[in-house]
Amino acid sequence: MKKAKYLVLTGALLAFIVTGCSTTEEYPLGEFATGIIIINEGNFSDSNGSIGFYNESTEVVSDDIFNQANGVSPGGIIQSVYFYENLAFIIDQAGNRIEVVEAETFKAVATIDQGLTTPRYMVISNGKGYVSNWGNYDANYNLPESYVAVIDLTGFSVSKTIKTDNGSEGLIIFGGDIYVANSNSNTVELINTTNDIVTGTISVATGPRGFAEDKNGKVWVLSSELFANSALSQLDLSSEQVLKSFIIGSSAKSLNINGTGDQLYYLSAPYGADAEVKTVSIDATEDATVALIVAPNLYGLGVDPITGIIYLGNHNGFQGNGTVIRYDGDTMLDNFAAGIAPNGFIFRK
C-alpha cells in the first residue's frame, strides 16, 4: 500500500518533469546557444587548444565545451572558430583540420582533415566555405604556398584551392564575394564566389591581418609586420580604393569594431613594455594618443556588440592557463580563468 503511494507520487513527478520540459519550447535550446565563446589557442608544443564558454547571466565559465559534448578535447592549435547558421567550424592550424560541430551544443558533426595546410580563418558565402591557409614555410621562412580552400558544405571536404599571395589570413565577405588579407605580403585579394577565382587586388600597408566593417559599409584592415609600425587602413571595397591609412602602435593585432560600427579597437604589444588596448573612431586620421587599457600578457580582444564590455585574453606567459579580464571602458570589472592562450571571443547573442 505504502509502495503504491510512492509509485503514484513518482509517476506524477515524472509526468510533471516530462511535460514541463516539452511544453515550454518547440525544441530544446542548446547549452551554448547564447553566451560568449572563448577561443583558447593552446600551447604550440603541446597542441592543447580548447573552447571555453562564459554564460553572462549565470557568470558560469565552462572550460572545455568540446570535451563536455564529445568526451575528448579538440586539442590542436585553435586559431579561430566560425559560426554559420546551426554549425560552428573549429579551425585547428596544427592539426590541419576543421572540426564541424553543432553551434548550440558543440556536438561533433564532421571533420575536414584533407586539403588544409595551416588553416587560419573561415567564412561562408554563396553556400560555400572559404578557409585561408598559410601553406608550408620555405627555407627562408616565407609562405609562398598560401591558398584559400573552398569547402563543400554538404560533404564537408575541400573542393578547390585558390592560390593567394603569401600568408593568407583574415577574411571578410563583402557584396557576397570574399576578401582575403595576405599577411606575408602587402595585398588584399578579392575572390569572386561565383567562379572561385581571384579577380582583384588592393595594395595596402605590409602585413594585412584582419578586417572590420564599419557602419558606413567601409572595411578596415589592420596591418602589422615585425620590427615595423603597424597600420590601420580604411578601404572602399566597391571601388577597390584605400580611403585613408595611418600608423598605429607596434605588433598590433585583434581588430574589433563595436556594435554600432563606429569605434575600432585593437591590441598593441610593444617590445619590452606592457600590452595596450587602443581605440579610435572611424573618423580618425591618426592613432589614439593614449591607450584605453595597459596590461601585461594580453593576447586576445573582443568587444561585446550589445553591452560594449571589453573582453581581454591574458596568456600568462604561455606557462599555464590564461585569464579572461573584463573591462567596462577603462574600468576592470572582473576576471576568470580560461584555457591556454585565449586569443579571441565570439559573442553569441
Binding site: T117, P296, G320
Partner: protein, 653 residues
C-alpha cells in the same frame, strides 16, 4: 582516458607484436648468417678458453674532489645486456630522475632535482657536450653502444663541472678494454620494425689499447596507440616517427715513458628522425637531423705525488630542422695539475678555454663567436681517517657578462667503519650557475645580449651505508634544498618571444636508494630501488593574474620510483624492471596534468659457450602492462612491445 579500453587492446597488441616478431627474427638471423659466418668459421679453430667479461660495480665519484655529493654509477654489466639503449631509456628505467620524451625515440630532456633541461651538465670524457645553442642535450641522441660507462652526480656541481650543473651532472665515458682481443657482435630486432646492430672490436696489452665500435639503430616506429584526442578513442598507428641512426667510435690509449698516458677518443653520430607529431596533429612534415663529431685527446701522468692532465676537445654539431641547418663548432683546451702536498692534503688547480662558433640562419651574424674561460682550484682534506672535506672554487670569465664566483664545500664523515658494515654522513653546500645559451643571446628575433647567468644555492645532507655480512645490502638517503634565481624564461614580447631573467624557483626533495643481494636456489638475485620526492616551486608571478605562483613546475613529477631485480641461475638471467612516474602538471598553474603511470619491462637472457665464443640470447618484453602513457601531452608512446637480441662475443687473452 578510459582504462577499460587499454585492457581490451592489450591482447590485440600482443598478437600484433608476435606477428611482427616472426618476420623480424627471420630477417635478423639471415643478416647474421651473411655477416658473420665467414669470420666465425675462421676463428673457431682457435683453442677453447672462454672468459666472460665481468665488471665490478664500485661507487665511483666523477671527481675525487666531489666529496659530499651523491653519485649513482650504473652497473656496466647491466648496461651491456640492454638492447643498445640511449641515455633517456637508461635514466628512465634505472634512476629516479625525470625525463620528458616528445615521443618514442624523440627529443628527450632531463629534469634533475626539479630543474630544467639546461640545468644538468652532460659530460663526455669530462667535456660538456650540451649543444651550445640550447645549453641542453637530447638524451635520445646519446647512445650507450658508443659510451658504455654512465655516472651521475646528484645536485649542484658547477664548481667542478662549470655552467649548467645545477640539478646534477651526467657523465659518459668508456671503460678501457680488457687485455687481449675482444670481438663483440650484437643484434636486436623487434616490434614496429626496430633493428639495432652493434659491432665492437678491441685489442689491449700492457702498453696500449684500441677499441672501435659501430652502431646502426633504425625503426619504423609505427606502433599502435589509443588516440585519446579523437572521439571514441580509436586505436591508431603512429605515422611519421621513423628514425635512422648511425654511430661509430674509436678509443685508443698508449703508455708513454714511466708514467705518462696518451688517450684519444673519437665519436661520430648521425641521426635522421621524422619528428613524431602530436596525436591530434594531422600532418607529417617535421624532420630533424643531428650530426655530431666529438674528438678528445688527453695526456695525463699517473705519478704518486704530482700529476698533469692536459685535454683538448673538438666538438662539431650540426642540427638540421626541415633542412635549415645550424652548425656549432667548439674547441676546449684544459690543463689540470694535481699535487699531494701532504698525506692529508691534495690540491688540484685547473684552467680551461672554450671557443664556440655558431653558424645559424636564425642568428644576426652569419658567424657568431663566443669564448669562455674558467679557472678553478680544489682542495681535498683528509685530517682524520674518518673525515674527508673538499673545497672547490671556480671563477668563469666571459667578456660580455659577469659570472658569479662559484664555491662548493663538501664533507663526508664515516660514522661506522667496520669491514662488514659502513655508515657515512655527507654534507654539501654548493653554488651553481648557468650562462645564457647562444640562442638566448643571439636568436633573431628575441635574443637578448643583456641576460645575466642564472645562479643557484643549495644545501644537502645524506646518509649512506653498506653491509657485506651474511646479507649484502646498501642504502642511501639524501635530503636537499636549492634556490634558483634569475632563471631564464622565454616570454612573448609583442609578436615574438624573448628570454628574460625572471623566475625564482625553490626546490626541495628527498632521494632514497637501496640494493639487496641474496642467494636463490643455486643462483642469486639482486634488488635495487630508487625513489625521488621532488618539490620544485615557482615563486614568480608574471602579472597579477598569474596563478602559477607557489605551484609545482610543469613536467616535474613529485614522485618517481624504480625497482629492478636481476636474477641469475647458471646460464639464465632474468631482469624485471618497474618504473613509476607520478602525476605531472602540464601547465604552470597546475590546473592540468598528465596521470601517473607504471612501466614494467622484462628480459630473459640465456648464454651458451662454444669454444672461444660466448653467445647471449635475449628476449625483452617492454611495457608488459601495455600502459598507454604520455611523457608529453598528446604525444603517443608505445604499448607492449618485444625485442629479441643476440650477442656473440669472442675473446682471446
Amino acid at each position: 582516458m578510459q582504462p577499460r579500453s587499454f585492457m581490451l587492446s592489450g591482447r590485440k597488441a600482443m598478437i600484433m607484436a608476435l606477428k611482427n616478431i616472426t618476420s623480424c627474427v627471420l630477417r635478423f638471423l639471415w643478416q647474421y648468417i651473411l655477416l658473420f659466418l665467414g669470420p666465425i668459421c675462421a676463428l673457431a679453430q682457435e683453442l677453447p678458453t672462454v672468459k666472460l667479461e665481468t665488471v665490478e660495480v664500485v661507487e665511483q665519484r666523477l671527481s675525487p674532489f666531489a666529496i659530499g655529493a651523491k653519485t649513482t654509477t650504473l652497473d656496466s654489466t647491466l648496461l651491456s645486456l640492454e638492447a643498445l639503449p640511449n641515455l633517456a631509456d637508461i635514466i628512465n628505467y634505472y634512476t629516479p630522475i625525470a625525463v620528458k620524451s616528445y615521443g618514442n625515440g624523440m627529443l628527450s630532456t632531463i629534469s634533475f632535482r626539479g630543474t630544467g633541461p639546461s640545468h644538468t651538465a652532460v659530460l663526455w670524457h669530462g667535456v660538456n657536450i650540451s649543444y651550445p645553442m640550447l645549453g641542453q642535450s637530447d638524451l635520445s641522441m646519446l647512445s650507450l653502444a658508443l659510451s658504455n660507462e654512465v655516472s651521475i652526480q646528484h645536485g649542484t656541481g658547477s664548481a667542478l663541472y662549470g655552467s649548467g650543473a645545477l640539478g646534477g651532472t651526467v657523465s659518459l665515458s668508456n671503460a678501457n678494454p680488457i687485455i687481449g682481443t675482444n670481438l663483440l657482435l650484437t643484434q636486436w630486432a623487434g616490434s614496429f620494425g626496430t633493428y639495432k646492430n652493434h659491432i665492437q672490436a678491441s685489442y689491449a696489452n700492457a702498453k696500449y689499447f684500441i677499441k672501435i665500435a659501430t652502431l646502426w639503430d633504425q625503426s619504423n616506429n609505427n606502433f599502435e596507440f589509443n588516440n585519446i584526442t579523437r572521439p571514441g578513442v580509436p586505436t591508431e598507428v603512429q605515422e611519421g616517427a621513423d628514425y635512422n641512426i648511425f654511430g661509430a667510435s674509436v678509443e685508443s690509449g698508449f703508455l708513454i715513458g714511466k708514467n705518462g698516458e696518451l688517450s684519444i677518443s673519437g665519436q661520430y653520430f648521425n641521426a635522421d628522425r621524422n619528428l613524431q607529431p602530436s596525436m591530434n596533429a594531422n600532418y607529417l612534415q617535421d624532420n630533424q637531423t643531428d650530426e655530431n663529431i666529438r674528438i678528445r685527446a688527453r695526456y695525463q701522468t699517473n705519478g704518486t705525488t704530482i700529476n698533469w692532465n692536459i685535454n683538448y676537445a673538438y666538438l662539431h654539431d650540426v642540427i638540421g630542422f626541415n633542412g635549415a641547418k645550424t652548425f656549432a663548432d667548439q674547441q676546449v683546451i684544459r690543463a689540470e695539475l694535481e699535487k699531494k702536498l701532504y698525506s692529508w692534503l691534495n690540491i688540484n688547480v685547473a684552467a680551461d678555454y672554450n671557443f664556440i662558433k655558431i653558424e645559424s640562419p636564425f642568428y644576426t651574424e652569419e658567424n657568431t663567436k663566443e669564448s669562455r674561460s674558467n679557472v678553478w682550484a680544489s682542495l681535498l682534506l683528509n685530517p682524520t681517517e674518518r673525515l674527508f672535506i673538499s673545497l672547490n672554487l671556480r671563477q668563469s670569465f666571459n667578456p660580455q657578462y659577469k659570472i658569479p664566483f662559484t664555491p662548493t664545500l663538501g664533507s663526508e664523515f664515516i660514522l661506522i667503519k667496520k669491514s662488514e658494515h659502513q655508515l657515512r654522513i655527507n654534507t654539501l653546500l654548493a653554488k651553481g650557475y648557468r650562462v645564457p645559451t647562444l640562442n638566448e643571446r643571439y636568436w633573431q628575433p628575441g635574443g637578448d645580449l643583456n641576460l645575466i647567468p642564472e645562479d643557484s644555492y643549495s644545501a644537502e645532507l645524506g646518509f649512506s651505508g653498506k653491509s657485506a655480512n651474511h646479507l649484502v645490502y646498501s642504502y642511501e638517503l639524501t635530503g636537499y634544498r636549492m634556490w634558483v634565481e634569475n632563471w631564464i624564461l622565454w616570454r612573448p614580447q609583442g609578436s615574438f618571444w624573448s628570454p628574460e631573467n625572471v623566475k625564482h624557483v625553490d626546490v626541495y626533495g628527498i632521494e632514497a636508494s637501496g640494493s639487496l643481494e641474496h642467494g636463490l636456489f643455486s643462483g642469486k638475485i639482486k634488488w635495487s630501488g630508487n625513489y625521488a620526492f621532488t618539490k620544485s616551486i615557482n615563486r614568480t608571478g608574471l602579472d597579477q593574474f598569474d596563478r602559477s605562483v607557489d605551484k609545482q613546475l610543469a613536467y616535474v613529477p613529485i614522485h618517481r620510483a624504480t625497482v629492478t631485480s636481476t636474477s641469475e641461475w647458471n646460464s639464465w638471467s632474468l631482469l624485471v624492471n618497474v618504473s613509476y612516474t607520478g602525476q605531472r602538471f602540464v601547465t604552470a598553474d597546475n590546473e592540468e596534468s598528465l596521470p601517473n603511470y607504471i612501466l614494467l619491462n622484462l628480459r630473459l637472457s640465456k648464454s651458451f659457450r662454444a669454444s672461444k665464443f660466448l653467445f647471449n640470447t635475449h628476449a625483452n618484453i617492454n611495457n608488459l602492462l601495455n600502459t598507454q602513457y604520455h611523457s608529453v601531452e598528446n604525444k603517443a608512446m608505445p604499448g607492449i612491445n618485444l625485442l629479441f637480441g643476440l650477442t656473440i662475443s669472442y675473446y682471446k687473452p
